[in-house]
């Protein structure tokens, strides 16, 4: 099997948009609206910044105008989000809603759900979290135990979700739950998705601190929590199909390449300022840049394939495997070559601050959204090896 996707020149015809986004970012940094940071799509929760983006039509760009979006399409969206990520802008508040929830609503939502949520997503007034993993269901998502039981007028949810990023700030959560018992012959059947508005009685959100001490992750506990019938997203029993339908988007986006890009930029700045830069350092940074380049090309060509209605799942798995390892290798190179630099979150030195964040977040890059081992399994299956 050879994987050939046509190269997509996202830049052609989008230069004006890119300049607009750059001007906005540079003004925002100048005005002290944000300080560039690594992994800002997880860490940078800033509803006011999100609202500013929404006011410019830069959230919900793939949402039709009828539902409050700017309907500019996924390639325009690509340019906006890659510029924001490369600059380390705080985009976490709307990230899940814009990337994952809006497409899922458009595809599986009822008219009522679309009208209820899409305009608020596009206006940065509804931020969503995702309830998927559980204590005994990490890579093996079919092992979830959270259960939805049919009652008069709705469903009762029982169970607990883990690693629900941003759940403590979110206005709603999309929860994957079992609606019928596990069938050993068809483990992926019998699951359904529910939209749970927050707060809801019976839903408790407990912090889980990251190894850095930051609070982004949560445990979300459902104790006899009631959701009405119209909270069901899509069809009963189609949960797995719905969750995996958007995986190519989730896995191939620029956030799988650029989580440490602000650190790489800062490393180049240090190199430029240095007299007689060592060749080993130049070689390391040149190699990282060449990797970023081919990964970005892959990611853009997948975006192009998605826009054409194709399902490049194997390509997306490859992109995420390579992209997230690249993100980690930026950190590894920084640790290897930056003599005299000490990672420190409180440092006034930008490089030390960025390296601190990047080093502490690095283990998550190759875990979230499907571990790299799972992804290589997807590739092997695509090649007919399993």
């Amino acid at each position: 099997m050879t994987l050939t996707l046509a190269a997509v020149d996202v830049d052609a015809a989008r230069e004006t948009l890119r300049s607009e986004v750059r001007a906005f970012i540079s003004e925002a940094i100048g005005a002290g609206r944000f300080v560039p940071d690594c992994d800002s799509w997880l860490t940078g929760w800033d509803p006011l910044f999100s609202a500013d983006l929404a006011a410019r039509g830069w959230i919900g760009m793939a949402i039709p105008r009828a539902y409050g979006g700017s309907e500019r399409g996924s390639l325009d969206r690509y340019v906006v989000i890659e510029e924001l990520l490369a600059a380390g802008a705080p985009v976490a508040a709307h990230w899940m809603s814009d990337r994952q929830i809006a497409p899922a609503l458009l595809r599986f939502g009822t008219e009522q759900q679309k009208r209820a949520y899409l305009p608020r997503i596009a206006a940065a007034k509804a931020f969503f979290a995702l309830g998927m993993s559980e204590a005994d269901a990490g890579s093996d998502l079919a092992a979830i135990r959270t259960k939805a039981t049919k009652v008069d007028g709705g469903w009762r949810l029982e169970g607990a979700k883990l690693w629900t990023s941003g759940g403590h700030h979110a206005h709603a959560m999309v929860v994957l739950a079992r609606t019928s018992p596990v069938d050993p012959q068809a483990r992926h059947s019998g699951m359904s998705q529910f939209i749970v508005d927050l707060p809801t009685p019976g839903v408790t959100i407990n912090p889980i601190l990251l190894m850095s001490g930051e609070h982004h992750f949560n445990e979300t506990v459902f104790e006899d929590a009631f959701v009405p019938d119209d909270a069901l997203l899509g069809a009963i029993g189609d949960g797995w199909k719905q969750v995996t339908a958007e995986l190519a988007y989730e896995r191939s986006g620029p956030e799988r390449i650029l989580s440490t890009f602000p650190l790489l930029t800062s490393m180049f700045q240090r190199l430029e300022a240095a007299q007689n830069a060592p060749e080993a350092e130049l070689a390391a940074l040149g190699t990282l840049l060449s990797r970023a380049r081919s990964l970005r090309e892959m990611s853009m060509s997948i975006a192009g394939a998605l826009q054409r209605g194709e399902a490049p799942d194997v390509a997306a798995a490859v992109a995420k495997d390579l992209g997230t390892r690249f993100e980690q290798d930026v950190v590894d190179s920084a640790l290897r070559i930056l003599e005299g630099v000490c990672a420190d979150a409180s440092s006034s030195n930008e490089l030390e601050r960025l390296l601190s964040r990047a080093a502490l977040h690095s283990p998550g890059f190759t875990l979230r959204g499907g571990t790299n081992e799972i992804l290589r399994g997807v590739v092997a299956r695509g090649m007919g090896l399993r």
Binding site: A12, F261, F268
Partner: protein, 344 residues
């Protein structure tokens, strides 16, 4: 240009290689058969002995020859003819080659321009009629075309057995001296990219052989491909090829937009990716083949020797990376370098 046309070209190359192999013919015969089929200077203007095909034809020819591990000197001949075509009314018919390593110098000797010095590791130097090479001049590096008949040749070979010769010139009158430095950048950019295409072909062959082997070979009662670690190695090879392929595609577009810093950056980056792919694919394909892949009788070595040898051609990976890093300030930082327009 359609996929159909490109497939036809690939099939023609495949058929020529198969025909020559079954008749026990040499690689030189393959070169002649390719010329007869109009694939030798496939994307060169007719005035320079070419077939005036689409630029996209050449990568297909180079990849298929790389896939079949056939050494022909077609890459260098095509590149030399391509560069000379806009500048010379009579582009030589004989096989030409290119050189970017060495210490050639252009000087003015009493009103006559002459070139002296050596060009090293020249592919098929011994068989070429002319070489298009980089030479130093008082005004900076210049591209020159020289008759190989005037050179003394020291023969050498890379580990795949392909000629890599040293050509030494003493006050030789060049066939042409290109004005300005743009032609030098174009030669370097295209050479790095074209070699990457050939490496893609060799890498794809090594992957195909590996997939076939791990599927056929059984140990501990089942096929190797059932083992997760084997699957992950194969996925890693696949990923390395996918990244290098994406770089090749993008660089092709960049070079089609004209020679310049964007094209040079794209070519350097592509060659880094191709070299990285070559290292990964050669290492893992041998690991997964076990001892048999390490023998003369198995065909894997035809691909892996080339992958290894070609990493050493033209410009080493680290030198590409250093040069790429030095281009970054000119773009205004790494993000601008990545997002610079492909066309000037």
């Amino acid at each position: 240009m359609s996929d159909h046309e490109l497939n036809q070209i690939a099939e023609t190359v495949d058929a020529i290689v198969a025909r020559a192999a079954s008749a026990g013919q040499s690689e030189g015969a393959v070169f002649e058969l390719l010329a007869e089929a109009g694939l030798r200077r496939v994307a060169v203007p007719a005035s320079a002995g070419g077939s005036a095909g689409e630029p996209a034809y050449l990568p297909v020819v180079l990849k298929r020859l790389g896939y079949h591990a056939v050494s022909t000197g077609l890459l260098e001949d095509h590149l030399a003819a391509e560069l000379l075509a806009p500048h010379l009314a009579d582009v030589p018919d004989g096989m030409m080659t290119v050189g970017i390593r060495g210490d050639l110098k252009v000087t003015d000797a009493g009103g006559n321009t002459v070139v002296s010095g050596s060009c090293r590791q020249v592919p098929w130097g011994r068989a070429a009629s002319h070489i298009v090479a980089v030479a130093q001049s008082d005004a900076g590096d210049r591209l020159v075309a020289l008759p190989v008949a005037e050179a003394s040749v020291t023969e050498g070979r890379n580990i795949a057995g392909e000629p890599r010769d040293q050509l030494t010139f003493g006050d030789v009158a060049p066939l042409a001296v290109f004005e300005g430095s743009a032609a030098v950048a174009e030669l370097r950019s295209r050479l790095l990219l074209y070699r990457s295409f050939a490496m893609m072909g060799a890498g794809e062959r090594a992957l195909d052989l590996t997939v076939a082997h791990v599927t056929d070979r059984s140990q501990f009662g089942s096929a190797l491909s059932r083992r997760q670690v084997v699957q992950h190695y194969v996925a890693e090879m696949f990923g390395a090829l996918a990244a290098a392929r994406a770089a090749c595609e993008a660089a092709s577009l960049a070079l089609a937009g004209g020679a310049g810093p964007s094209a040079l950056a794209a070519a350097l980056a592509t060659r880094i990716e191709a070299d990285r792919m070559a290292g990964t694919v050669a290492r893992l394909s041998h690991q997964l083949h076990g001892a048999i892949g390490f023998t003369q009788e198995h065909s894997l070595h035809f691909s892996t020797k080339r992958l290894t040898a070609w990493r050493q051609d033209d410009l080493a990976e680290a030198a590409c990376a250093i040069e790429l890093a030095r281009l970054v300030p000119g773009f205004g930082g790494p993000w601008n370098a990545l997002t610079a327009r492909r066309t000037a």
